[in-house]
């Protein structure tokens, strides 16, 4: 794994809100083509971590390098250019509710690739809708879709820009087990077809097991355990064990 290209490198990342320290010296290397899962309880700072990576939040200290560029030092223009290579899937999917599915998908494409013709944009829209299996929903509004479909469209909206890195924020939160399995399969499919590297934020162990090549547990602002699913959970460590027991026994 260490010979592979590092696409995200984080060193000693600290982030706090007011007096509350959320991230306390995070270190992370994400390799090309890898799915890295960050597990942790609600409020442990998982979402803050990927928001810092996407440049939505500024770190207090530490270095966040994405595709060789230090995110917090980039100008607005350079940050926008970098964001074309980053796909961010929000927990709520954050679809633009005043726009149809087609408009949601073509929105960023029209504005970032102004040289493209309408025909080329339509082909790209069709292609990503095909990839997430929702081609027939193209003219509907987000309010007409189910939770699982909204997640899929959220993924399609980022895929249309052909990102190198995908950042998933709780991709299976609030979904039934069958839809969760479908989303997990979709995440793996996206990684396989588009050769993306992903950071998947979740507290769902089924999702972590199904999608993660490596898994890290975020506790008290730092990664307490990092490794494969088996390495992380074959332990007597009470914090990891209780997390595992809650997900798979309860």
């Amino acid at each position: 794994m260490t010979d592979r290209e590092v696409v995200i490198s984080i060193r000693d990342l600290h982030k706090s809100f007011g007096g509350t320290k959320v991230l306390k010296g995070i270190n992370l290397d994400l390799y090309r083509g890898e799915n890295f899962v960050v597990l942790g309880r609600s409020g442990s700072g998982k979402s803050v971590l990927i928001k810092v990576i996407a440049g939505l939040l500024k770190p207090d200290s530490g270095i966040v390098n994405v595709l060789g560029l230090q995110v917090d030092l980039l100008s607005q223009k350079d940050l926008q250019a970098l964001r074309l290579k980053l796909g961010f899937i929000f927990q709520s999917s954050a679809l633009y509710d005043s726009m149809s599915i087609r408009e949601n998908l073509e929105f960023s494409m029209i504005r970032n690739f102004r040289h493209l013709s309408t025909k080329e944009i339509n082909i790209a829209v069709d292609e990503v809708l095909e990839a997430v299996g929702l081609r027939e929903k193209i003219n509907q509004m987000p309010s007409d879709l189910s939770g699982g479909q909204i997640k899929r469209i959220g993924i399609a909206r980022t895929l249309i820009l052909r990102p190198d890195i995908m950042l998933y924020d709780e991709p299976t939160a609030g979904l039934d087990p069958i839809t969760c399995t479908e989303i997990n399969e979709l995440i793996n499919e996206v990684q396989r077809i588009y050769n993306t590297s992903s950071i998947i934020i979740t507290h769902d162990l089924t999702c972590a097991k199904a999608t993660g090549h490596r898994i890290a547990m975020l506790q008290d602002g730092n990664f307490s355990r990092v490794g494969t699913f088996a390495e992380v959970f074959n332990t007597d460590d009470i914090s990891a064990k209780s997390f595992f027991d809650y997900n798979f026994i309860n």
């Binding site: 964001r83 961010f88 709520s92 954050a94 005043s98 929105f107 960023s108 980022t158």
Partner: protein, 281 residues
């Protein structure tokens, strides 16, 4: 207690107050800090508008869409309000003018009142309620549901797409609506005058505009541009900085209306003073 002791106690008190101020423990000082921080924030927000307005890419299509939303969709409300105010204002003004034998001045009075004050002010207040709250609520809801962040991470500048387009639309459309409101108000007034004095529409409008100067029209248009900008920027600022979920959206919409109305009155007083001063030159 001698003078020395009193002086020491006084110094001690001042020291404690200053210490309290510096540490920011006091609620009052925290509010002052918050106020000045917001002033800086507003300044940055407004400066960014002018910077982004003249930088490529331009969102012409969205500006036209917003002009339609702000302008065309406000027409029914402006028509009703302007027309009713025209009738009522004429009806209320007639008795005192008749008492002084100056009923023939009624069209001029209405003309001056509508062009100088009623048209711009009524349009601005209605737009602050309808358009300002709409912008505040829409952007606020986009903010709390992370749609603005979603635009940001998909390499689209949300400020340009959401704020610049809306503020430009209000700045363009409020003057247009003001002229329309003035016209509709004068028509309402004409209806009342016609029913009482059987005046022709040509004679009425000739009389109404006889006392209106170029400065009146110019200041009315200038005022409405300022009001339009105020309504747009206040609504957008409140929406763009909304927090705390749905409650925050409600607050953003409410504050957008209250602040823009407050600013509109302050601007009205200032511009009237300047116009009066210019008229005396």
């Amino acid at each position: 207690m001698n003078i020395r002791e009193s002086a020491i106690r006084l110094i001690n008190r001042i020291y404690c107050t200053l210490k309290k101020y510096r540490s920011g423990d006091d609620l009052f000082t925290k509010k002052i800090d918050a106020f000045f921080l917001e002033v800086v924030d507003v300044h940055k927000f407004v400066t960014r508008f002018f910077k982004e307005l003249f930088t490529k890419p331009f969102e012409f299509k969205e500006i036209i869409n917003q002009c339609y939303q702000v302008g065309f969709k406000s027409v029914p409300l402006i028509t009703l309000t302007g027309f009713v105010i025209g009738i009522v204002f004429t009806k209320q003004s007639r008795p005192p003018l008749v008492e002084f034998g100056a009923a023939s001045w009624l069209p001029s009075l209405i003309g001056i009142a509508f062009v100088r004050a009623l048209g711009p002010l009524v349009t601005a207040l209605i737009a602050a309620g309808k358009v300002g709250s709409n912008i505040g609520a829409e952007l606020g809801s986009m903010k709390v549901t992370e749609q603005i962040d979603a635009m940001d991470v998909s390499a689209v500048n949300p400020y340009k797409f959401l704020v610049v387009t809306r503020v430009t639309a209000t700045t363009i459309m409020i003057p247009v609506l003001t002229l329309y409101c003035t016209l509709v108000g004068l028509l309402g007034s004409y209806l009342n005058v016609h029913l009482n004095e059987m005046t022709s529409i040509t004679a009425y409008f000739e009389s109404a505009f006889s006392s209106v100067s170029f400065l009146d029209v110019y200041s009315a248009v200038f005022k409405s541009i300022v009001y339009g900008f105020t309504i747009g920027i206040v609504g957008a600022y409140r929406g763009f900085n909304a927090t705390n979920g749905t409650q925050g959206v409600g607050k953003a919409a409410n504050r957008a209306v209250v602040f823009s109305m407050f600013l509109i009155f302050a601007e009205e007083i200032t511009i009237v003073q300047i116009t009066n001063w210019l008229a005396t030159l």
